[in-house]
Symmetry: C2
Subunit: 355 residues, 2 copies
């Protein structure tokens, strides 16, 4: 059992309030040097540590932030969380984690639990473009920051990748390689990431080929943010009479699934089909082949989100505008010049064994 303030004050022969003042190094304190020394000495001897729960009840501050994340086992979110925890620890804040699996019921449950625990603010990596739970938080003036995804229209308390610019860079890279049949494996379009990357895809292709481009005919397939979605979407694309020579996947996991489908169909990446991902997951550089992708500064995004939340909660400073984290196209081995299509050549040709 750790020692309490009261016990300490008994030992020191001083009133608890005096002890508290000394321990807080209250600037207005004017305690005699001798008494202060005695108190400090005893606190050290008995390793006195204030009970945060009691302090929180009194001060109405917990120094805890609640985090809602779809799935911490997804390495992207793990990096973001690492950044959050580092930035929080720096200011003696702690992080309580809740996984939601993108299920509104789990989100609601997590939010309620976090509020019951009186967290000082929330970090949400779960925003949908129209998100009633988040609108509710805004109405209640609960301090929160959105990370990675934002609601529509974007608000100053958002810290997100520059999805649009990243997707434009990816598509332009493919165009420069000579690709003309460029597909997009889209994510959920109720998430800003999925929506913006898809929009950038459509806009870039349209502006590049204003005369003939037709949104309806675009090689746009709904996938998901996960591997299985990328796999299924790619199979759909491969069955087209005239399949794409390049694919921009909404993220690295979907790209991974797409590559599986391509290889399974006996085609090669990048010789037959180029693939670009998004995020630059921990292992994007270890995949077969190494993935060309749009790098998002995951960890820094977590850091910045917490810094903004601390500004709001501790310093009362509201952000003026959303923070778009800069992204970078990293060209690796999964993209190559468009193959020369021989008219009439089978698009389902087997990869010729190299030997």
């Amino acid at each position: 059992m750790p020692i309490t303030l009261k016990q300490l004050s008994l030992l020191a022969g001083a009133h608890p309030s005096t002890v508290a003042r000394v321990l807080h190094a209250d600037p207005r304190q004017r305690v005699s040097a001798e008494l202060r020394e005695r108190i400090l000495q005893l606190a050290r001897e008995h390793d006195y540590r204030p009970n945060s729960v009691a302090r929180s009840l009194r001060t109405k501050r917990t120094a805890v932030f609640g985090v809602l994340i779809p799935d911490i086992a997804n390495p992207f979110f793990a990096s973001v969380l690492r950044g959050m925890e580092d930035a929080a620890a720096e200011r003696n804040y702690s992080i309580i984690l809740t996984n939601t699996d993108d299920q509104p019921a789990r989100e609601a449950h997590g939010l309620a639990m976090l509020r019951d625990r009186q967290v000082d603010g929330l970090l949400l990596a779960t925003a949908r473009l129209h998100d009633s739970a988040i609108e509710q938080l805004a109405r209640e003036q609960t301090p929160f920051v959105m990370v990675n995804r934002h609601t529509e229209p974007i608000t100053p308390n958002a810290v997100v990748p520059d999805d649009y610019a990243g997707a434009v860079a990816a598509i332009e890279h493919l165009l420069e390689l000579g690709h003309r049949r460029i597909a997009h494996i889209a994510g959920a379009d109720d998430a800003s990431t999925g929506y913006l990357r898809r929009q950038a895809y459509l806009d870039t292709l349209r502006s590049h080929n204003a005369d003939t481009f037709d949104d309806q005919a675009a090689l746009l397939v709904r996938g998901s943010f996960r591997e299985a979605g990328g796999y299924t979407a790619m199979r759909t694309l491969l069955e087209l009479p005239d399949p794409p020579t390049a694919v921009f996947a909404v993220n690295d996991l979907a790209a991974l699934g797409a590559i599986h489908a391509i290889i399974e169909a006996g085609l090669r990446v990048p010789e037959d089909i180029s693939v670009v991902g998004f995020n630059d997951l921990f292992h994007a550089s270890h995949m077969a082949p190494n993935l060309t992708t749009v790098q998002v500064p995951h960890r820094a995004m977590g850091v910045r989100a917490v810094e903004r939340l601390l500004d709001m909660v501790v310093d009362g400073v509201m952000p003026e505008s959303p923070l778009l984290m800069p992204v970078t196209l990293i060209v690796r081995q999964s993209t190559a010049p468009a193959p020369q299509r021989q008219p009439g050549a089978s698009t389902h040709r087997r990869a010729t064994p190299a030997s």
Copy 2:
């Protein structure tokens, strides 16, 4: 501002203690049906939710577990944490996360912070074989469970992979493939994982070749649990006059680094050198080549650890013996029969281009 119990009791025209009893569905409660209904109704209307901080101060229970993890950005620990959070949420417990980067100072700081927050128990993924911080916790009777690593000798509050059996399976697999020069890239030997996997390596080779085996001459190199360590260790091995034909790495990250070094040297995996990892990381199956590895049930390990801690803290049930999670050798593409060594053939030969 959420409503408090006191405000609610005013509205109900009943005493706070009565309201509390109704809300807790106290079995011994014998409140008139009418009053109970009125209170319940008002609580619903005003969305009354008890303040956990106040409750915790009173009950001396926070329903929070503290977690010490080396690095949540490591996908292995991310999976473990996911399991922990799932199992905790099931019982309305929350998780506060602290990253330590395996630095004792950060561990001490994290532990102090978690204790100040009055967590009900600790989940430690940071144990060293001789760990004074953990010995201290044991002395103080703080409830805690060790995950993935344990102190020496192993105690009942440990939930760890069956490291020894997994490593034996890996080595036997290589022996069956005809390998005789089998190296080990070891991890830190002050961690049970590193220590046991190394011991299993030595024991298995020794028993397989009792006459000629010499511990001192074993192809044992100190690496680390991270990629860079595997890379450096492999380079050392490749410079030997008679390099190994197979390598058992202490974990998948080290295996990844080793594969880099092998490929960089112009050799092939598995044709020239077989590689086995440990853990089966999320991306072990996506690496080039797909990694043969010992699968550890990461998520389940987190779940079981929390269940044990809940048993201890909530139900007062102490575990009788440590829990060794079963592991499985997964044979993929990074292992193959030992190459036929031609006497005098250069071991640093370039891979012959396949075409």
